[in-house]
């Protein structure tokens, strides 16, 4: 186990792994059936939405119950732009900027509240969003919804539609993941973590909790908007139902099950969001809600860090069991073995709390 970790820390090995993963992602749609491609594409769509949710909830510690609202706004903006023959780049930018501005305005008011009240404000977003989308029927097509076909594969590529959509979604999602990774590893990410852990400490260090909360909220809403654009690429149709309250709750459940405060967890969360309803619907559609509730509560009970923390938990169990035997046989000097738990200890604790 240790050797694997050590190997992964080597820069060249990492690069090689990255290249292999990228190559697999590029080749995959060419060999898989249409349905699998569509499923993977939708996982990409929701992984970006969960990623945004993770930035605000996992990394900056504010419970956000309205992420689906920004996905819906992004989807509607995309549909409107396409319907009015905007350039697709302009459409994409609008699908980032408009939800971002909305998020900023909401955050400016909501972040004034401490603690859980922000959750109570954001729960309203999808619940107001649905009737609002029905009311603004000139822009949104009312409860009929609106469709936008702009993501068909161009002739010169020789690809099928599902393959083309897959490439767009996975490409944009990959960029989003890299950006998010850099954000949470960098200066802003550290400031957000301090704000999450203790606002008073953050304030005493000269970090304004208000400003970082607003920033995290805005970034989350931009990611929501991007996932809305991707949603239109994949589904090509949106209606008020897209941003219903239950979808928002499922998105939150997906984030927690995947792993809060974890980039990889967002990907697992996206897969969870798409795959679990498929499985439970295949068994019995009436149990979907129950099973989602049970899974969410069970994960929090057993694995507070989400599925992404599973390898770490297993490793810790193995180490605890293996230590006495390993000590006698292992030739490595003790400091390295002692160092491992200390470097890992705080991290698991931090992840567990989120």
């Amino acid at each position: 186990m240790n050797q694997v970790t050590k190997l992964l820390q080597n820069g060249w090995v990492r690069l090689a792994v990255g290249v292999v993963v990228a190559a697999i992602l590029v080749i995959l749609p060419l060999v898989l059936p249409v349905f699998a491609n569509q499923t993977l594409t939708r996982i990409g769509v929701y992984a970006v939405a969960v990623l945004g949710l993770n930035i605000i909830m996992g990394y900056s510690g504010q419970v956000m119950l309205g992420q689906i609202f920004f996905l819906g706004v992004g989807a509607y903006v995309t549909a409107y732009g396409v319907g009015n023959d905007w350039n697709v780049v302009v459409v994409f930018l609008a699908a980032c900027v408009i939800p971002g501005i909305l998020g900023l305005i909401i955050a400016l008011a909501a972040a004034r509240l401490g603690g859980l009240a922000i959750a109570m404000v954001t729960i309203a977003l999808p619940i107001i969003g649905v009737p609002l989308a029905k009311r603004l029927s000139d822009l949104t097509g009312g409860s009929q919804g609106v469709s936008a076909r702009f993501s068909s594969a161009p002739e010169w590529t020789g690809l099928d539609n599902d393959q083309w959509q897959y490439y767009i979604v996975v490409g944009i999602a990959a960029v989003a993941f890299v950006l998010a990774f850099n954000l949470v590893r960098g200066k802003y990410g550290r400031a957000m973590a301090i704000v999450r852990d203790n606002e008073s400490v953050a304030r005493s260090m000269g970090i304004s909790p208000y400003r970082y909360k607003v920033m995290a909220f805005t970034v989350a809403s931009i990611f929501g908007g991007v996932s809305g654009f991707l949603y239109m690429v994949a589904v090509q149709y949106t209606s008020p139902e897209t941003m219903s309250f239950h979808h928002s709750i499922s998105l939150l459940a997906a984030m927690v099950v995947g792993g809060a405060a974890s980039i990889a967890g967002s990907l697992i969360g996206g897969a969870y969001y798409v795959l679990v309803p498929q499985v439970t619907n295949a068994i019995d559609p009436t149990i979907t809600a129950i099973s989602q509730g049970i899974i969410l509560v069970a994960v929090l009970f057993v694995l507070p860090g989400g599925i992404v923390s599973l390898p770490r938990v297993i490793r810790r169990l193995l180490r605890r069991r293996g230590t006495p035997g390993a000590a006698s046989t292992q030739t490595t000097p003790p400091p390295s073995r002692d160092a491992a738990p200390t470097t890992e200890g705080p991290e698991t604790e931090r992840q567990g709390q989120a």
Binding site: M57, G61, Q62, V63, L65, A109, A110, R112, L113, G114, G115, L116, A117, A119, M120, V121, I123, A124, I127, I128, P131, L132, K134, R135, N198, E199, S200, V201, S204, F245, H246, I249, L252, A253, V256, T286, I287, T288, A289, I290, S291, Q292, G293, I294, L296, V297, L300, F301, P304, Q353, A354
Partner: protein, 293 residues
């Protein structure tokens, strides 16, 4: 003018329903420091329990009382078996657990009783009386009176009884409360049980108006949360007054502001919310919480 009075009175009766749920939320928050997002779903489950008891041939009032008792037990059990694991930890995690409960309870109701609307008899007669030219149903009046009675009881309990004092002590500082000899675990169970019982009352009051469905409380929960923020998380009276205010204002806005109309009136409490927050972040009746490092 007649329409105006009518709208105000209807708004008060609507607001009373939000108030019942808001009171339950305040109660859990006062005794555990948590926000229970499953409060609405638990109220729906209570209403279904009352529905089952009615099906056994019990009179309405007994069925509701029965569901209140069963709900108290459910609330206490949920706290003991599930929530306790997360108390004292990160409040965000605990809140996500309550969101899991929300999904779970809605799912259980849908699984056991289906998603079709069911008729639920009203506790009060469906006759109306005439006051200042407005037609007021006995049901609205009864609902409002029940809520006022509960609010007064809660306020008295929190401020005037040993149990209320103990509950408040536990919510402010569980460790100190425990050191002073208070049975913290049992008090938390009682807090959850009382809130669930209160939710059962809300469920029984709402069900006749909305007909019984698993999602019937989703909207009411949102209003209740708005009322709780506007009124202040630590004030039962503030929550009720805010809930009434929301009920009345949304009714007036639906009729007098053409853009809002009936489908968008749910946005009204949040417009009020934003205005209130900008002026008083701790809510109209709330006390500011001082944080010490």
């Amino acid at each position: 003018m007649d329409t105006f009075i009518q709208l105000v009175v209807d708004g008060l009766s609507l607001g009373s329903i939000y108030a019942a749920l808001a009171l339950a939320i305040v109660l859990v928050n006062q005794s555990t420091g948590l926000i229970n997002f499953a409060q609405g779903a638990m109220a729906v489950l209570s209403a279904y329990i009352a529905y089952v008891l009615l099906g056994w041939g019990l009179p309405t009032i007994l069925a509701i009382l029965g569901s209140v008792v069963v709900s108290f037990v459910i609330g206490a059990v949920v706290e003991r078996l599930l929530i306790r694991r997360f108390e004292g930890g990160d409040p965000d995690t605990a809140v996500v657990v309550t969101i899991g409960l929300l999904t779970l309870f809605t799912g259980i109701c849908g699984w056991l009783w289906g998603y079709n609307n069911r008729q639920f008899p009203s506790l009060f007669p469906l006759t109306t009386v005439d006051i200042f030219g407005a037609v007021i149903s006995i049901r609205s009046l009864g609902t409002t009176l029940v809520i006022i009675a509960i609010m007064v009881l809660l306020q008295v309990m929190f401020l005037g009884t040993k149990l209320g004092l103990a509950l408040r002590a536990v919510s402010v500082n569980p460790q100190s409360a425990s050191l002073s000899g208070l049975p913290v675990g049992r008090l938390l169970m009682v807090g959850w049980g009382l809130a669930a019982a209160l939710g059962a009352v809300a469920g029984a009051l709402v069900a006749p108006q909305l007909t019984l469905t698993p999602g019937m409380m989703d909207t009411a929960l949102v209003y209740a949360l708005a009322a709780v923020i506007i009124g202040g998380l630590n004030s039962p009276m503030g929550a009720v007054v805010a809930a009434w205010g929301i009920g009345v204002l949304e009714n007036l806005a639906a009729v007098y502001v053409p853009f809002i109309g009936h489908d968008l009136k749910i946005a009204v409490p949040f417009l009020i919310l934003f205005v209130v927050l900008l002026v008083r972040p701790q809510g109209l009746f709330g006390r500011k919480v001082v944080v010490r490092v």
